[in-house]
């Protein structure tokens, strides 16, 4: 395992800690900030393993766009001390079953990974190769993905029009 492998493991550990904090914080905004931290750690891991494009997507789209929208939405909803108290009570109970389920799924995964997964130096995958895939053999899937967005757009527009009173 080289330097980049060690860095990837360190980034992954940081990500785990951040995501655990995201689940256990009673304040929703704090929890979302921890999710951002977790996603950035994940992106650092991607960069260290040579997947620069995946890392950039992780930061730009997930941390930058999606979670940012979540934070804006949550901040527009007034969550005062009552919400904090309610979250504290909810976090106090009912965490055991989900934890057991997560471990039941993750344990065989961790045990079956071949040789720790980081043998040798990571191979960098340039964005050009992904682009060649998207515009070559995957072109049909990309085109139909745009049709998927049209379907979502039509549905959202139809639902929103009623609220406009039109």
């Amino acid at each position: 395992m080289g330097l980049s492998g060690a860095f990837a493991i360190w980034a992954g550990a940081l990500g785990l800690v951040a995501m655990a904090l995201a689940i256990t914080r009673p304040n929703v905004v704090h929890a979302l900030i921890w999710v951002v931290a977790g996603l950035i750690s994940l992106a650092a891991g991607f960069f260290a393993l040579g997947a620069g494009f995946a890392g950039a997507v992780q930061i730009l789209i997930y941390a930058g766009a999606i979670i940012a929208v979540f934070i804006f939405v949550v901040m527009t909803i007034d969550s005062g001390d009552a919400a904090l108290a309610r979250e504290r009570v909810r976090l106090g109970k009912g965490w055991k079953l989900p934890l057991v389920l997560v471990l039941a799924v993750l344990a065989p995964v961790a045990l079956s990974l071949p040789g720790g997964g980081l043998d040798g130096a990571p191979v960098a995958v340039p964005a050009q190769r992904l682009g060649a895939l998207l515009f070559g053999p995957w072109a049909v899937a990309v085109e139909v993905a745009s049709a998927m967005l049209i379907a979502a757009l039509l549905g959202a527009r139809h639902l929103a029009r009623r609220e406009g009173g039109q």
């Binding site: 079956s112 995957w138 379907a151 979502a152 139809h158 639902l159």
Partner: protein
């Protein structure tokens, strides 16, 4: 590359119908979407028996893909005929073309990317079509499909990620296990998640809750598409995945258990329903179970699943088309005497229901024979018992609806052809020509495939390489 013509036609038709929708008259919008579906259906029907064509690496241009496209386009075309949403909902035809495109892509998918995108395109278009009337039941049905479809998509993606991590391949064929290679637990978990996600989309128990609500609350056209076309496409995807050899006993065992549970619960819950559409919703859960059990039994007869689709789709279309005529959420008492007042509606509904029940002389009987041959040759007694109990229950509740169609009304009430509790403006006394065409062709198909199945089974057996 001729295999791409249906996909291109459907995509172009959807975009054109969407652009025309705000200004153009409604008949033109429906005509554009309908022409695209007719073109897709015609091309697939003409190429049904041709050898496997070449195309993009992630799609297969084989008989199954053409059959799936044909079923989806014809269902879409039939549903377009009675897509009569509230006036502002002009998006209907475009959404129907998009859903057809998704089902066509899904039935050709041999790769994780078109598989997932096809499934999600069908689900997203269906959600939008479910909420078209903007009534409370429709919004509830759409919301349920949104939440459950989202959970299903998450499970599906998780499964695909595990399969990719274990095999390094996104192609279905790359998932064939290599003996002695590490990563088998990953494959097994991936298969379980994949099946969980597919069960949501296929409305298998315990992930079936959206189906009865959707059939009851959503427009009949959207329900018909969800029940017939999207189910056919998922069934074809299951047939393709069964060919891969995903890890046992997870694949067959879980599919068999989900199927048997769906047969039992779907039929039991349909038993006491007094609403025609809700009964059809639960019956669609049961029929998903039958198809899942056939796939889990190892597909000894390659034409079994296509023939089941051929028997199920027209029967459901006929029943829902007649139901849509009777107004929103038709009850069993609304059907009383329907056969005497509108013989065509009564006959089509009767044929559809006895085909769903699996009685002789209609296609459903042959489909049931395929079902029992498949599970008896597999020798799994749990599913045999489930199928026997389910079929017996089916006779009861389908025939309950058939009998009342041919009961005479009390004297003095024969005047109105469609005595609905609250007569909707859309239900004209006479059947429009397009609906007559749908009912007649569905009935003819059911009778032809039931009385003389040999030509159908020959064509369908040649579909599967």
């Amino acid at each position: 590359m001729t295999g791409l013509v249906p996909l291109i036609a459907l995509g172009a038709g959807a975009v054109l119908a969407m652009l025309l929708a705000p200004k153009a008259p409604a008949w033109l919008v429906r005509g554009v979407a309908g022409a695209a579906m007719a073109l897709a259906a015609g091309v697939s029907a003409l190429r049904l028996g041709l050898p496997v064509g070449d195309g993009p690496a992630i799609l297969s241009d084989d008989g199954l893909a053409r059959f799936g496209t044909l079923v989806a386009s014809l269902t879409g075309l039939a549903a377009l005929v009675w897509l009569r949403p509230a006036p502002p909902a002009r998006e209907g035809p475009a959404l129907m073309a998009l859903a057809t495109l998704g089902a066509a892509l899904l039935s050709g998918a041999t790769h994780a990317a078109p598989f997932f995108i096809g499934l999600e395109l069908v689900t997203l278009s269906l959600i939008a079509m479910f909420v078209l009337p903007l009534t409370r039941p429709a919004l509830e049905a759409g919301y349920k499909l949104l939440i459950m479809g989202g959970a299903g998509a998450a499970s599906l993606l998780m499964g695909l990620a595990f399969l990719y991590a274990a095999s390094g391949s996104l192609e279905f064929q790359g998932w064939t296990p290599v003996p002695g290679l590490r990563g088998d637990p990953l494959m097994a978990i991936g298969t379980a998640f994949l099946l969980g996600g597919l069960a949501f989309k296929f409305a298998l128990v315990p992930f079936h809750m959206w189906a009865p609500d959707g059939f009851e609350g959503a427009p009949a056209a959207a329900a018909a598409f969800a029940g017939a076309a999207s189910k056919a496409a998922v069934a074809i995807a299951l047939v393709r995945l069964a060919d891969v050899g995903l890890p046992e006993p997870v694949w067959s065992g879980a599919l068999m258990a989900l199927g048997a549970a769906s047969i039992l619960l779907g039929n039991f819950l349909a038993l006491r329903q007094s609403s025609l559409t809700r009964m059809l919703g639960y019956s669609s859960v049961a029929h998903s179970g039958y198809i899942a059990v056939i796939v889990a039994s190892g597909l000894a007869a390659p034409e079994a699943v296509p023939f089941y689709i051929l028997a199920y789709a027209p029967a459901l279309l006929a029943a829902l088309c007649v139901g849509a005529r009777l107004g929103p959420d038709p009850r069993i008492e609304d059907l009383r005497g329907l056969g005497w007042r509108s013989p065509l509606s009564g006959a089509a509904l009767t044929l559809g229901l006895i085909s769903l029940a699996g009685l002789p002389a209609v296609a459903g009987f042959i489909a049931k024979i395929y079902l029992f041959v498949a599970i008896l040759s597999a020798g799994d007694w749990v599913s045999v018992v489930a199928a026997v109990i389910g079929s017996a229950l089916g006779f009861y509740y389908y025939l309950r609806f058939v009998v009342i169609v041919w009961r005479r009304l009390p004297p003095g009430t024969e005047d109105t052809p469609y005595p609905v509790r609250e007569a909707p403006a859309a239900s004209a006394p006479a059947l429009p020509l397009a609906e007559v065409a749908v009912l007649v062709s569905a009935s003819a198909l059911l009778l032809a495939a039931g009385l003389y199945p040999a030509p159908f089974t020959e064509v369908l057996a040649a579909l599967v390489p």
